[in-house]
Symmetry: C2
Subunit: 107 residues, 2 copies
């Protein structure tokens, strides 16, 4: 039951602003938990909990480094999310086209 994440989880995970902020900070490079918590408006345990969600969504990975746990972005999660998105985008255009034709019919 390790990497059982879908793009949906990533979507929900990035829906939260705090989580998005954490993730964005990780985009600049790997960081330990207490480093991440530094500039945040929330406490370190809160950050830990968010990181857990992000990890379950496949958006970040962690590895131990002494007593520190260093988190880094994982391309897997957003990769899947982006792929899903592209397909979505295509279907959205189709849907929009259908809507346009539907509207044209009304004239």
């Amino acid at each position: 039951m390790a990497n059982r994440y879908q793009p949906l989880d990533a979507l929900a995970a990035l829906g939260d602003p705090t989580r998005r902020r954490i993730f964005e900070r990780l985009l600049t490079g790997p960081l330990a938990v207490h480093e991440l918590a530094e500039g945040m408006p929330v406490t370190r345990p809160a950050v830990s909990q968010h990181l857990r969600v992000l990890a379950e969504a496949g958006l970040v990975t962690a590895h131990a480094e002494g007593t520190r746990r260093v988190y880094a972005v994982s391309p897997d999660g957003i990769g899947a999310l982006r792929a899903w998105m592209d397909e979505f985008w295509g279907r959205a255009l189709d849907g929009f086209r259908a809507a346009a034709e539907d509207a044209a019919k009304e004239t």
Copy 2:
């Protein structure tokens, strides 16, 4: 204060599974509210409320048609979301590269 939506709103909006399901059904073409509510596990007012959120996020548009309100997907929302995503994707790759170099340094 009409179209003041950012990709962030769209992310949060699509985070909810019910809302995602509504949106996905709209991808097949425009639908009236009661038609949307048909196959849903929730009541029509709930669908209405979700549609409001989706509209505020710029993901759908509505137009009156008699007493019915027909909703359709709007490319604006996901367009912006997709653009944001692509930029994110690029930065994620950079971040991942930074993480990899960081890991290489540890050897």
